[in-house]
């Protein structure tokens, strides 16, 4: 009997002749924080796009809580309880912070009033309270990142996919996001996190999965994976800066 949560089995994603992801297996059990790491171009965001329904898998099975996600549109996947953020933040620029989050809240809220209440609570939770009525286009990058997370959280997911939510942030901001992720986890949301900020992902994850050229090269507790020679070589070989972070 399969455990609930996210289950990816044998995922292959090809773009024409290019194989972006190959024979990829991954599970995220309820209550877990799984880190997905790897050098740039490894295929991590592609995995997110496929899981969230933006690309169809070339081959393989993807199920969330027992329901197959293959062939479902992104909004249907969101309905099932799986939300995602984008690597390049995508706010609804003309809407205010609250309105942005309300869009997500409508996923479960039965009416406008309920959506607004839920969104207001989430806005406070992520620390954007003072920016509630500011149009998203006027938000700073760190605030946009929070907004992105808030919008995903408002959909009341059981699994949240975070894509490099810390990129472009300074150390203080990164600390704050680490705290936010912990608080989200404490609310009962499982997380699958793509990150390049090594110390953050090492600190947060229960388990790490390493992707390189579209293939999983390592998996295990953070401490073990961090010492894995294959992993170190993958990072050093591709770009010295990533490993040095």
């Amino acid at each position: 009997m399969s455990a609930p949560g996210l289950e990816i089995r044998g995922l292959i994603k090809r773009f024409g002749g290019l194989v972006a992801v190959s024979r990829f297996d991954l599970t995220v059990a309820p209550g877990e924080i799984v880190g997905l790491i790897g050098p740039n171009g490894a295929g991590k965001t592609t995995v997110f796009h496929v899981v969230a329904g933006f690309y169809p898998p070339t081959e393989g099975a993807i199920a969330f809580e027992g329901t197959s996600l293959v062939g479902l549109k992104p909004h249907a996947i969101c309905r099932l309880g799986l939300a995602r953020t984008f690597q390049l933040v995508q706010p609804f620029a003309g809407l205010t912070t609250l309105e942005n989050v309300m869009v997500g809240a409508f996923n479960r809220a039965p009416d406008v009033g309920a959506a607004r209440r839920r969104a207001a609570e989430i806005v406070e939770f992520v620390g954007l309270g003072p920016r509630r009525d500011v149009p998203a286009r006027h938000l700073t990058l760190p605030d946009r990142k929070r907004l992105e997370v808030a919008r995903g959280l408002a959909t009341e997911p059981r699994l949240l996919l975070l894509d490099e939510v810390m990129s472009g942030l300074n150390p203080t901001e990164i600390e704050a996001i680490i705290g936010l992720i912990r608080r989200i986890h404490a609310r009962g949301v499982s997380l699958l996190v793509i990150e390049h900020v090594m110390r953050a992902i090492l600190a947060l994850s229960h388990r790490l999965v390493v992707l390189h050229h579209g293939e999983k090269i390592a998996e295990g507790p953070p401490a073990t994976v961090a010492r894995d020679p294959l992993v170190i070589e993958a990072y050093l070989g591709e770009s010295g800066e990533a490993a040095a972070r």
Partner: protein
Amino acid sequence: MAARLAPLLAAAALVALPPLMPKYALEVLISILFFGYLGACWNILGGYGGQFSFGHAAFFGLGAYTSTLLFLHWGVSPWIGMLAGGLLAAGFGLFAGYLSFRYGLRGPYFSLVTLAFAEMLRVVAVNWKAVGSSLGLVVPNRGSAPALFLFAEKLPYYYVILTMAVGALVITRAMERSRMGYALAAIRENEDAAEAAGVDALSTKLSAMALSSFLTALGGTFYAQYFSYIDPSLTFGPAISIGGLLPAIVGGAGTVTGPLLGSFVLTPISELTRAALRGRAGADIMLYGLVLILVISFLPNGLVGWIRARRAPAGGRR
């Protein structure tokens, strides 16, 4: 205080003054409300949904022809025919919309395909004897028959179009504040992000299309009953397609009052130009072109957007 009073005074004027107005002024006012109505209908899909249709005449024509044919052949009251036309137009809208959205047509491609659909309907009408081909259809008006949407005077038509225009505004406002309004705004801003947040983009856009096309078709019936004559190029042609979208753009796409305000500005310009340059057909549209260029260049959010920006630089959705 004055700001709050002004709309109320305007509303009161619109209701109370017309019986006192000279015939020509009343005609212009009807025209203003008519294009304001069309603009509001277009606005639902275009301004709020961000899908700029260049072929809304398709729905207009379907409405006009449906109610007229039902009336001419089976004596069905145009009030009922209006609804039938609306449903047919909504059906066509869903069909065209499904094809377009399902195949991911956005932006200019969507505009082009809607233009093509309108033109196709026009060509069909021109070549179909049963609907009158290019000679069109005449709606016989032998005097007052309110149950048959026929009036001997202009004044009752005025109140009909006034009700329709106000109705369109009320519907727009209700939609704006509803779940659908938020969904449309999200789609308009960023469709992929909207989908990721649980918004069913296809279904939402189709809803907007159905509502927009249904309401536009009602305008077609009004036109048929008011002018007593319809033909393919009048009802399916660019004059209606453009005539609907211009007020919305100029007044402010994606706002409740934009289309009506836009029509209050544009239609008198057109009338004055036509009156001043008698015999010089086209001068009014030429001015429209110029106004469009100027508005896009200097007031990209339309008049309403400009007014709001002067009042509250902070911005936001409303």
